[in-house]
Symmetry: C2
Subunit: 420 residues, 2 copies
């Protein structure tokens, strides 16, 4: 087999463990010098490939790779960029450029670390390479806090975000319970997840199975939001306990599909805030309770100080497996997590076809949602629980995680500039 | 000396280490059975005293006290309640009731764990006891994440919230830097602190002294907000780095004292969001940058999984000292943290008069703010740095902190019900 270089790229929103996958890809690729020459990374994802903005990873020694594997965010930079359809003029122009860059840098292996959209790109790059007769093996590596990739039992990045949010609900719940008063106190936490309720469901782990423990209500997009049913439950919980804690997935919708948006005091609907603030104000205006709301936003997907050990292990495993799959010529595939058993939780890495699941979306099964649409079931908790297990000690300096500084070395350009 | 019971109460917003102070009070009081009989706690603070809603702490064994010392929130419940002025009819009625409850339960020592307002109550209770000839020693114990109590170098609760927020800015900064694009990305984090910028200033620890590292801008109430100066700096940072991270204290004001509120699309000012969302939207509308914003809300003061070891040590120390001061008859005083040295940081617990500092507010000194009002200085970082030092291992179960369940045993009532 010919020897060629490997290119790695982040894609889409980053996670607390995407760098773990990157470090595993680099480490595994280095173990095969007979097949893989240089290990390069794209700066800012696919945009960096187009711009021929590449990074030489040889400068990262073993200690630096270890540090990288513990650092949240995407060290090489990422982007949200939809590859235009291949059949269009713009699509051909973009595809031509990608292969010019691959050829200029002797890229024979491309590992694309992303979500559903990225799996589509993996499939299209495989097809384009075959049509062009260019020797490229293109492999996906799953990553998303949203846990919405089809074909894998779970997605690296989800477990750590889930652990962060369940811990946050547990802790904020202890706080608001302290402050619960006769006039009722409500706490709303808005979480990520796009069109799915996986991250919202994870907060239910804070309660174990205790119906009186936070979160008392979990709103997920899959359930459909009914204002009257919801407010009745908020009132019931608050009258019984003196407080009510609520997880709101950012993507919740009414049964007719309309989003929940901020209602201005004038009565018109104006999109002034996310679902969390809209829900908090709805409760205040309709029930008169005091409220607090939290939006962890990027904090929930960057919590390197509180990683799930299982999640990080899986992020490392898919990185290693992606390199093995590239060497095995499993073009257009991605490593997927397969659940083998519970108690103890056991898993392995399997192989899935990227094009087959591209742009699909894995939503919460009906069995994971309570029939009233206001909480998740024990089945949901049983599924998520093992994914947040285990802690990962982080080196610290001055009371903060010591993520270190990583010097990234650019690769000299060989092509004319790209005109985006 | 006569033997009598001790009553402990939380007051105001709780913290991640207020239970540490509570556990230290209980432990220290038990060490003096010759002077202190029962150790009781008020349920929901001073409202619990009025309602004669008291808790017997004898059921908490040593293991339970240790667990309590690691648990965020206020386990006995707290409240925000302003004691009416003593000279008013309502004030006399309330004060009469408090002393009826004290007498009914043979309370000779009262330890009130709160902020500036609570120190006022400590002084007033001391005065009232002396006027009534009731043998009560009343001691404050400082607590607030806002760090705004006068007379103490810092406040238990602040260090852990500061550590949480500095870590959050560090981690979210790594995330947004990954996603920085040509159109500019802005991240705004709104933090607590009431009228002071101590917590906002703490996020500057994330940057060390690196002017290019998050947070790029820190807005504190003490500086006065100037929209044009601020937006010019946001533009400058974003054009240089591709992204800009901003900490916004909840209490920021314009130089004329007006608050920063959400501006509706109609142009009128309507209070629809906090300072953080208002700032984020201002940037989007004026500069066109994409934005994300986070509101950690209760999460920042309940982060038991990521405590500052120094903060917890000080929370324990003021609890122990408050009991010693009660036994020494230092009526109307509170234990204060005194800074003895830097590198290594050294501190001790001194004694301050509660009435002398009651209702005052400790704000950021001018030397802690950069002259343009858009950041804090090295002096601010040097002051805060030792307060976030050290980590506290938490027992975990199933990937979450194991804060345990504490059975609280109510004290039988001896008085007629209180009519609030």
């Amino acid at each position: 087999m010919a020897r060629s270089n490997l290119l790695y790229a982040h894609s889409g929103g980053v996670t607390a463990v995407i760098n773990a996958t990157a470090s595993a890809v680099i480490g595994a690729a280095r173990a095969h010098p007979e097949r893989i020459g240089k290990v390069l990374a794209a700066h800012r994802g696919i945009l960096g490939v187009l711009a021929e903005d590449l990074i030489e990873t040889a400068a990262l020694d073993e200690a630096a790779l270890q540090r990288l594997s513990l650092r949240p965010g995407g060290v090489f930079g990422s982007c949200r960029f939809d590859l235009p359809q291949t059949a269009t003029a713009d699509g051909r122009r973009v595809m031509d450029r990608l292969f010019e860059v691959f050829a200029a840098h002797d890229i024979g292996h491309f590992i694309y670390n992303g979500g559903n959209g990225s799996m589509d790109v993996v499939g299209r790059l495989r097809d384009a390479a075959q049509q062009r007769g260019y020797p490229l093996v293109c492999i996906g590596a799953p990553k998303t806090v949203d846990n919405d990739i089809v074909g894998t039992d779970c997605c690296p990045g989800f477990g750590s975000a889930a652990k962060y949010l369940a811990t946050s609900m547990l802790e904020a719940g202890l706080d608001i319970r302290s402050m619960a008063g006769s006039r009722g106190s409500v706490f709303v936490m808005e979480v990520m997840g796009r069109n799915t309720g996986w991250l919202a469901a994870a907060t239910a782990l804070a309660a174990g199975g205790d119906a009186d423990a936070p979160p008392h209500i979990v709103l997920v997009p899959e359930a459909g939001f009914d204002e009257e049913v919801f407010l009745a439950e908020v009132r019931r919980v608050t009258e019984r306990l003196g407080y009510c804690t609520i997880t709101v997935a950012e993507g919740i919708r009414r049964a007719d599909g309309s989003p929940i948006v901020e209602k201005s005091r004038e009565g018109g609907y104006v999109q002034l805030g996310g679902a969390g603030s809209a829900i908090a104000r709805m409760i205040h205006e309709r029930l008169g309770y005091k409220f607090h709301w939290a939006i962890p936003d990027y904090l929930q997907r960057a919590g390197g100080h509180w990683l799930s050990a299982v999640d990080r292990e899986q992020a490392l495993a898919v990185g290693r497996a992606a390199v093995e799959m590239a060497l095995d010529g499993r073009n257009g595939c991605f490593p997927a997590i397969r659940r083998l058993g519970e108690a103890p939780y056991r898993w392995e890495v399997g192989t899935e076809d990227a094009a087959a699941i591209a742009n699909l979306e894995r939503t919460l099964p009906v069995a994971f949602m309570r029939t009233d649409g206001l909480h998740v079931t024990a089945a949901a908790r049983d599924y998520i629980r093992p994914l947040i297990e285990g802690e990962v000690p982080q080196p610290t300096a001055g009371g903060l995680p010591d993520y270190g500084a990583l010097a990234l070395q650019p690769v000299a350009r060989r092509l004319p500039p790209w005109q985006a």
